[in-house]
Amino acid sequence: MLRQTTKRAFLGLASRNYTPFAVVSRLYHPNVIDHYDNPRNVGSFDKSDPNVGTGLVGAPQCGDVMKLQVKFDGSGQIIDAKFKTFGCSFLFCLFFLATEWVKGKSVEEVLTIKNSQIAKHLSLPPVKLHCSMLAEDAIKAGVKNYKEKQAEANGETVEA
């Protein structure tokens, strides 16, 4: 302990202490930074497409608004997903993960995704856990929207 302090103080290195950067980078996991800088799966599908389910969750007043869109093939499997977000940098990461996880899954499998799984995967700090809830809600909203569209289409077919 004494040796460490004398080494720094004697060589005048105490003033050039770079540990604050270590703190900042601890606050932002490298994954989070990467997803923010190189956003993937960002964009939109055509909302009126019957195979696309759109989930819009959050509120501008909370500083969190997310739109998640999932594209299904004819048999109820998700083939693609895209998102857009008004929110902090953690959300980019969260939603990238959410869009990656839903691809290739069926409707039932996707509804089993829990916010705790996403949070654990990203080592979210406790203050950001509410963001993972939004991810789970967005997935559910997207699937619900798709099901409603399907029910409408089927309803029309039956009536016709």
Binding site: L2, R3, T6, K7, F10, L11, G12, L13, R16, Y18, F21, V24, S25, Y28, P30, I33, D34, Y36, D37, P39, V42, S44, L56, V57, G58, A59, P60, Q61, C62, G63, V65, M66, K67, K84, T85, F86, G87, C88, S89, F90, L91, F92, V127, H130, M133, L134, D137, A141
Partner: protein, 453 residues
């Protein structure tokens, strides 16, 4: 024993090829080759390697120390190390002299008498002393305090503390431009009002309150007027007599001085009495006991003297840069709102809201610029800035604000770079924003029912 440790350490460092700090380079080229992060002088900032350091545009948080202030402090630190309250020998007299010179320098800046300046550890301590000290002294007759909703946290928290003790506090709302409504202030004053506390320049939005009018109202009603002028001194002309101020808090590190020192102006004619927060040997007229930090005080004095000389020039320079920044951004982006009055504002503070883009994600993108934001995600409490909410800014816009602070040492190139980076990041984030998409499609965001948590 200690000298053996030190010499062993030096020997080890000089021969150690894995020295991690850049200063070791001149000692060992092997160290330079193996020093991973610092061989090319670049630093890792938010995941990206950038050369040099970020542009500093956060002058309201603190300011870099002026080299001339540092010279004055340095000199004083080495030579004037006596206790300024030691009456019996030369060391004390020299230190006391240095403190008194600084006192005169601070007093000149605000057109006060040196006897009215009490040195403290900063504006926070000065605010606490003013608010609590005055009310505690007059506790038998005065029970009411008036302040605004946009005050600095230390004033608001002191008022909250007074409320717990049984005092009543009126938090005046502000208009949408950030200025206090003078009619509301007049109506709020009661016979038992002991203090009105309104800050001169707001730290977050930069608006300048109508100090002379407020001072006149307080004089008419015979109520002491306290102002937190930490962001005002050295930047706008301050005259305690014209403003009719009884108490004024000041801070050194907002005017290119050192951190850890500030002052409270306490009027002598007519006298304002207050109970000190720090009890002890009765230093600083009995209002702040404790040995003064001579070096810090000397630095504060030097900073005030420089500010007095350079105030006019600084204002011209900073105004030019502010216009450059605002026009540069507005030329390329729409949906940019300035928070707070543009007319009654300190030029070095520009608080902008960028519609449809969240503040924290914008800060993340502005890796090479050091600024701050009023958004929820940047605060520990996840609440957006209370100052912006008091202005009546829409809640979604409160999350989108960025505060640019321009100062004496900011250059044109820094402003141009900041404009370029901000525009780029805002455009990128708007492409990724569902709100922007909805607005482009013609949907009115205000009419949507959001599912909240």
């Amino acid at each position: 024993m200690a000298s053996k440790v030190i010499s062993a350490t030096i020997r080890r460092t000089l021969t150690n090829p894995h020295g991690a700090f850049s200063r070791c380079r001149h000692l060992s080229t092997a160290a330079a080759a193996t020093a991973v992060n610092y061989e090319d002088e670049s630093i890792l900032m938010k995941g990206v390697r950038i050369s040099g350091r970020p542009l500093y545009l956060d002058m309201q948080a603190t300011t870099p120390i002026d080299p001339r202030v540092f010279d004055a402090m340095n000199d004083s630190t080495i030579h004037e190390y006596g206790n300024p309250h030691s009456r019996t020998h030369m060391y004390g007299w020299e230190a006391e002299n240095a403190v008194e010179v600084a006192r005169i320098q601070v007093a000149k800046l605000i057109e006060a008498s040196p006897k009215e300046i009490i040195f403290m550890s900063g504006a926070t301590e000065a605010n606490n002393t003013a608010v609590k000290g005055v009310m505690h002294f007059y506790r038998d007759t005065k029970k009411h305090v008036i302040t605004t909703q946009t005050e600095h946290k230390c004033v608001l928290d002191s008022c909250r503390h007074l409320q717990q003790e049984g005092f009543e506090v009126t938090y005046l709302p502000v208009k949408t431009d950030g200025l206090v409504d003078l009619e509301m202030l007049k109506e709020a004053i009661r016979p038992d009002t002991g203090l009105v506390s309104i800050m001169a320049v707001n730290n977050e939005i930069g608006v300048v309150q109508p100090m002379e009018e407020i001072g006149r109202i307080c004089k008419e009603h015979n109520v002491p007027f306290h102002t937190d002028a930490a962001q005002a001194i050295g930047k706008i002309p301050v005259d305690v007599k014209k403003w009719n101020v009884a108490l004024m808090s000041m801070s050194a590190h907002k005017i290119y001085g050192p951190k850890g020192v500030g002052a409270l102006y306490v009027r002598r004619r007519p006298r304002i009495r207050l109970e000190p927060l720090m009890n002890g040997g009765g230093q600083e007229r009995g209002l702040r006991s404790g040995t003064g930090a001579t070096q810090q005080i000397v630095g504060f004095g030097a900073a005030c003297e420089l500010a007095m000389k350079e105030m006019e020039y600084d204002e011209k320079w900073i105004k030019g840069l502010q216009e450059r920044l605002l026009n540069g951004i507005r030329e390329k982006l729409d949906g940019v709102v300035v928070n707070g009055s543009m007319d009654s504002r300190y030029v070095g503070n520009l608080n902008l809201s960028f519609a449809y883009v969240e503040g924290e994600s914008l800060l993340m993108g502005l890796k090479e610029v050091a600024v701050s934001s009023g958004s929820a995600c940047t605060s520990a409490s996840l609440e957006p800035s209370y100052v912006l909410r008091a202005l009546g800014v829409d809640e979604d816009m409160a999350h989108t604000s960025i505060r640019f602070g321009i100062g004496r040492f900011t250059t044109k190139e820094e402003i141009d770079k900041a404009v370029e980076l901000t525009v780029k990041q805002v455009e990128k984030l708007r492409e990724m924003s569902p709100l922007y998409e909805m607005v482009k499609e013609g949907i009115d965001i205000k009419n949507i029912q959001w599912s909240q948590h």
